[in-house]
C-alpha cells in the first residue's frame, strides 16, 4: 500500500525528559549526601533512557487500512456504521496505532468517535467503528491519519495511509427499497367483522420508557436491523391514508448537538410509513407542515397555507411526488435555526400548524397519520382538530426530549402532558423512543 509519511517526532516535555530529570536529581542528591544507594538508583531512570534510545516506532508501510460502511446508500438522517479495519501485514507487532478517520464535512458522528488506539500483532487485524448521520447528497470520506508508536510510546511516526473499501456515503430519500413481502393484498372491508367507518386500527408494541439517555441510543443496532418499535396497521384504509409530516421550526432541534433533529426523524418515520403502507396496497397521500410547496423539486399542489399536498393515490405519480416532498422536507428538517425555539409560550404563534388549510384538502373519511415530535402546542392542537373532525387519527411522535439537561427534561414533561391530553381525547399515539428504531407493519400484507 502507499502511505504518505507525514513525519516523525516525540511528545514535547515527554516522559523521558522526566527520566533524565530523575537521573540527575538522584545523582546529585546521592553525591551531595554521600548516599550510595540514591546514587545507584539513577540506574532506574538510566534504563528508561536506554529504552528510549533503543526503541523506534513501527513502519506505517506494513499496515493496510480498509473502511466499510454499513450501507453506502441511506435516506438522509438515517445513521450508518463505519468500520475502519487495520491489518498488520508486516512481521513486527504494532503495539500502538492511533487512528483518526476523517468523516465527510456534512456528516455527524452520532455514536462512538472516529478515533481509536489499536494494537495489532503481525497477521492480525483490529478495527474501530462509529456511526454517522448525513444530510441529503453524496459525502466523501477523507483518508484517515494514523500515528504509530513503539511499545514505550516515546517517539511516533505519523502517516496518511490510503484506504481500501468504501469512501462515499450517498444519502437519498428513495435510497431504501423496502423488502416487500408480497402476500395477498387486501382492501379494508374484505375481512368480516370490521367496524364500518373505522377501517383502520393502529397500535404500538413498545411502551415509552422515560429517562432514556442519549448514550443509550443504539444507533448501530438501528442501522443494522432497522427494526424494533412497531406501528402495526391492522388493515389498509378504504378511503386512503394521508401522512402528515411535521417539520415546522419547533421540531428542528436534536436531543444533543450533532444528533438528528426531531424533524429529521419525523421525515424518516414518514418515509417508512409511506413505503410500508403503499407496499400493502393502501392509497397514500402526503402533506408536509413547515415546507413551502414551491421548494419541492417536482410540481405539486399546495393547500391554502402553500404547503405541498399530494392527494391519496397509488400510482407512479404519487410515488414521484411523495419522494420529492420528503426530500424537500428532509432538507428543511436538517436546517437548524440559529436560536432554539422557545419551549413554552409563544411557540405556536411563530410556527402555526394551520389545521384548517389541511382539512380543506383531506378527503372526507381519509385516515390521517400525523408524524410530529409534539414539541409545541400547535402540533397537539392540529391533531385534536383532525380527531374532532371525525378522521381516524394516529399520531406517531419521535421523542428527542429527556437526557440530563434541565431543558430537555422540561421539554419532556411538556411533551408528555400533550401526549396524555391527546390520549385522553381518544387519539392513538405512538410514542417513538428514538433510542429504538421504528418499524411499520401492516398485518394484512405480511
Amino acid at each position: 500500500m502507499t502511505a504518505a509519511d507525514a513525519g516523525t517526532g516525540s511528545d514535547p516535555g515527554g516522559r523521558f525528559d522526566a527520566a533524565a530529570f530523575a537521573a540527575v536529581t538522584l545523582l546529585t542528591v546521592g553525591a551531595v549526601l554521600g548516599n550510595g544507594l540514591l546514587f545507584v538508583a539513577a540506574v532506574v531512570p538510566g534504563v528508561y533512557l536506554v529504552a528510549e534510545a533503543a526503541a523506534s516506532p513501527p513502519s506505517p508501510g506494513a499496515v493496510r487500512v480498509e473502511r466499510s460502511l454499513g450501507s453506502t446508500a441511506v435516506p438522509p438522517g438515517r445513521p450508518t456504521t463505519v468500520t475502519l479495519t487495520v491489518a498488520n501485514e508486516g512481521d513486527r507487532p504494532i503495539p500502538d496505532c492511533r487512528l483518526v478517520d476523517r468523516p465527510p464535512e456534512g456528516a455527524t458522528v452520532v455514536e462512538g468517535t472516529a478515533r481509536g488506539c489499536v494494537s495489532v500483532r503481525p497477521g492480525e487485524t483490529a478495527s474501530i467503528s462509529y456511526a454517522v448521520v448525513a444530510g441529503h447528497g453524496d459525502h466523501e470520506f477523507d483518508d484517515p491519519v494514523a500515528r504509530f508508536r513503539s511499545l514505550s510510546a516515546a517517539g511516533w511516526r505519523t502517516a496518511r495511509p490510503s484506504v481500501d473499501g468504501d469512501a462515499t456515503l450517498s444519502c437519498r430519500q428513495a435510497a431504501e427499497t423496502p423488502a416487500v413481502r408480497s402476500a395477498a393484498r387486501r382492501r379494508a372491508g374484505a375481512r368480516a367483522g370490521d367496524s364500518p367507518g373505522r377501517g383502520v386500527e393502529f397500535h404500538s408494541v413498545r411502551e415509552y420508557r422515560r429517562g432514556d439517555d442519549v448514550s443509550r441510543v443504539d444507533w448501530r443496532r438501528y442501522a443494522k436491523t432497522g427494526d424494533l418499535s412497531t406501528v402495526d396497521f391492522r388493515e389498509p384504509h378504504a378511503a386512503g391514508t394521508v401522512v402528515v409530516v411535521d417539520v415546522r421550526r419547533p421540531g428542528r432541534v436534536g436531543r444533543a448537538p450533532g444528533r438528528p433533529t426531531a424533524a429529521t426523524l419525523s421525515v424518516d418515520a414518514a418515509g417508512r410509513l409511506f413505503e410500508r403502507l403503499s407496499a400493502a396496497g393502501d392509497r397514500i397521500g402526503l402533506s408536509a407542515l413547515g415546507v413551502a410547496a414551491a421548494d419541492v423539486d417536482v410540481p405539486v399542489a399546495g393547500d391554502r397555507a402553500d404547503r405541498p399536498w399530494v392527494p391519496p393515490g397509488d400510482g407512479e405519480t404519487t410515488r414521484t411526488r411523495t419522494t420529492a416532498v420528503l426530500e424537500a422536507a428532509a432538507d428543511v428538517a436538517a436546517e437548524r435555526p440559529s436560536r432554539p425555539p422557545p419551549t413554552v409560550g409563544d411557540a405556536g404563534r411563530r410556527a402555526p400548524a394551520r389545521p384548517g388549510a389541511l382539512r380543506a384538502r383531506l378527503p372526507g373519511s381519509a385516515a390521517v397519520v400525523v408524524v410530529t415530535p409534539l414539541l409545541d402546542e400547535e402540533a397537539a392542537a392540529l391533531v385534536e382538530t383532525l380527531a374532532g373532525a371525525d378522521h381516524p387519527v394516529l399520531a406517531v411522535s419521535p421523542d428527542v426530549t429527556g437526557g440530563d439537561r434541565p431543558g430537555g427534561r422540561v421539554a419532556g414533561v411538556e411533551r408528555r402532558l400533550r401526549l396524555e391530553r391527546l390520549r385522553a381525547r381518544g387519539v392513538e399515539v405512538v410514542d417513538w423512543d428514538v433510542a429504538e428504531p421504528l418499524s411499520v407493519a401492516v398485518e394484512g400484507s405480511a
Binding site: 533524565a20 542528591v29 531512570p45 478515533r115
Partner: protein, 371 residues
C-alpha cells in the same frame, strides 16, 4: 448534562493506573521509612487542598477557604507532630537539626494526594490561585483578631484602617461568605484560648521552657497566639497552592498537572526513603515514580489524540504491560548495580574519592548533553 468537553482529558484506565501506582508506592515508602502516619496526613492534606481548588472553581469561596484551612491545618499538624516527636515542648531556639525524611514524606503525600484528586476532578492548575486567595480571605478575620488581641486598642486602629482601605479599593474581590466563615472561626477561638494557653504552659518539658512560653504569651496574649497558629494553616495551604500555580505558569507542569504531581510526589517519597536509608525499597520506589509518570504521559497523549470516546482498551492494556515490564527491568538492573557497588572497596583513599566525584560530574554532564 455537563457540557464540559471530555476532549483532552487523560485516558481513563491508564490514568487510574498511574494514580494507583503513585498512591500505593508513596504509602509503601512511608511505611518502609516508619512514617506511615505522616505520609497519610500528607495525603489527606493534599486531598483537602484539591477539594479547596475544586470548590474555588465552582465559586464556592467560603467552602474553598475552609478546605484550604483544613488542608493547611493538616500540614501544620504533620510538621508539629514530626517536630515534637524529636524536640521537647515548647520548641525554643536554636532548634536542633531534624531529619529531612519525614518532612519530605509529608510533602510527598501532599503532592500525591493533590495530584490524584486533581486528576479525578480534572482541575486546572490555574485554579489553585483562587483557592489560595479564598484561604487567605478566611484567614483575614482571625489574623485581624490576633493582631488586635496582641496589640490592644493601638493595633485595632490600623487594622480597621487597612480593612476599610481594602473594602474601598478592591470591593469585587472581597468575598463575603469566606470573610464571614473566617469571622466564625474567631468566636470559638476567643472562648477556648485561655484554656489552650493553660494546657500549653502545663505541658512544657522543663522550667526554662515554661518561662519562655509564658513570656511569649504575655507579649501576644492567648488569643493572639492561638490566632497565629490558626492563621499558619491557610498560610501553609496558600504557599503549597501558589507553588503549584507557579510550577504550572513556568511550564514545569503541562496539561495533565495532576498526573505529573502524582509522579513527582512518588519520586520525592523515594528520595526521602533513600535519605532515611530504607534499602532496596528505594529502587522500587524510583521505578514506581517513573512508571506512574510513564502511564500518566501515555494517558495524556491518548486523551489528546483519541479522546475518551474512542476505542482504546487494547492499546492501553498493551502499553501498561510494556510499561510494567520496563519498570521491572529497571529495578532488576538497579538492584544488580547496587550489589556490584557494594562489592567495591568502600574506602576513603584519594583515588576513590576523586573517582567518585569524577563519575558523578561526568555522568551528570553526559546526561545533560544527551538531552
Amino acid at each position: 448534562m455537563s457540557t464540559a468537553p471530555a476532549a483532552g482529558r487523560p485516558a481513563r484506565t491508564t490514568a487510574a493506573g498511574s494514580v494507583a501506582v503513585g498512591v500505593v508506592a508513596t504509602l509503601g515508602l512511608g511505611a518502609a521509612t516508619g512514617e506511615t502516619a505522616v505520609t497519610a496526613v500528607g495525603l489527606a492534606a493534599g486531598l483537602a487542598l484539591a477539594g479547596a481548588t475544586r470548590a474555588a472553581t465552582d465559586a464556592e469561596t467560603a467552602l474553598a477557604g475552609m478546605l484550604a484551612a483544613l488542608g493547611g491545618g493538616l500540614g501544620v499538624a504533620g510538621v508539629a507532630a514530626v517536630t515534637l516527636a524529636r524536640v521537647p515542648w515548647p520548641p525554643t531556639l536554636p532548634v536542633p537539626f531534624l531529619p529531612a525524611a519525614p518532612f519530605l514524606l509529608l510533602l510527598a503525600g501532599g503532592l500525591v494526594g493533590f495530584g490524584a484528586a486533581a486528576t479525578v476532578w480534572h482541575l486546572p492548575p490555574a485554579a489553585t490561585g483562587r483557592a489560595a486567595v479564598a484561604g487567605a480571605t478566611v484567614a483575614a478575620a482571625p489574623a485581624a483578631a490576633g493582631v488586635v488581641a496582641a496589640g490592644g486598642l493601638a493595633a485595632a486602629v490600623p487594622v480597621a484602617v487597612v480593612a476599610a482601605g481594602l473594602v474601598v479599593a478592591d470591593r469585587p474581590a472581597l468575598d463575603g461568605p469566606a470573610l464571614v466563615a473566617g469571622a466564625g472561626l474567631v468566636v470559638p477561638l476567643a472562648v477556648v484560648d485561655g484554656r489552650l494557653a493553660t494546657v500549653a504552659v502545663e505541658a512544657a518539658a522543663d522550667e526554662t521552657r515554661r518561662r519562655a512560653l509564658v513570656d511569649a504569651l504575655a507579649v501576644t496574649g492567648p488569643l493572639g497566639a492561638v490566632a497565629g497558629v490558626v492563621v499558619a494553616a491557610p498560610a501553609l495551604a496558600a504557599g503549597f497552592l501558589l507553588a503549584v500555580r507557579l510550577a504550572a505558569d513556568t511550564g514545569l507542569l503541562g496539561r495533565v498537572a495532576g498526573l505529573q504531581l502524582v509522579a513527582a510526589g512518588t519520586f520525592l517519597a523515594a528520595v526521602a526513603g533513600g535519605i532515611a536509608g530504607t534499602g532496596v525499597v528505594v529502587l522500587v520506589g524510583v521505578a514506581a515514580a517513573l512508571l506512574a509518570w510513564d502511564l500518566g504521559e501515555f494517558a495524556a497523549t491518548l486523551g489528546r489524540e483519541v479522546g475518551r470516546g474512542g476505542a482504546s482498551r487494547r492499546g492501553e492494556f498493551v502499553h501498561v504491560g510494556g510499561a510494567v515490564a520496563l519498570a521491572a527491568v529497571a529495578v532488576v538492573a538497579a538492584v544488580t548495580a547496587a550489589g556490584l557497588v557494594r562489592t567495591l572497596p568502600a574506602s576513603g583513599t584519594p583515588a576513590t574519592v576523586v573517582a567518585a566525584a569524577a563519575a558523578a560530574v561526568g555522568t551528570l554532564l553526559l546526561l545533560a548533553a544527551l538531552r
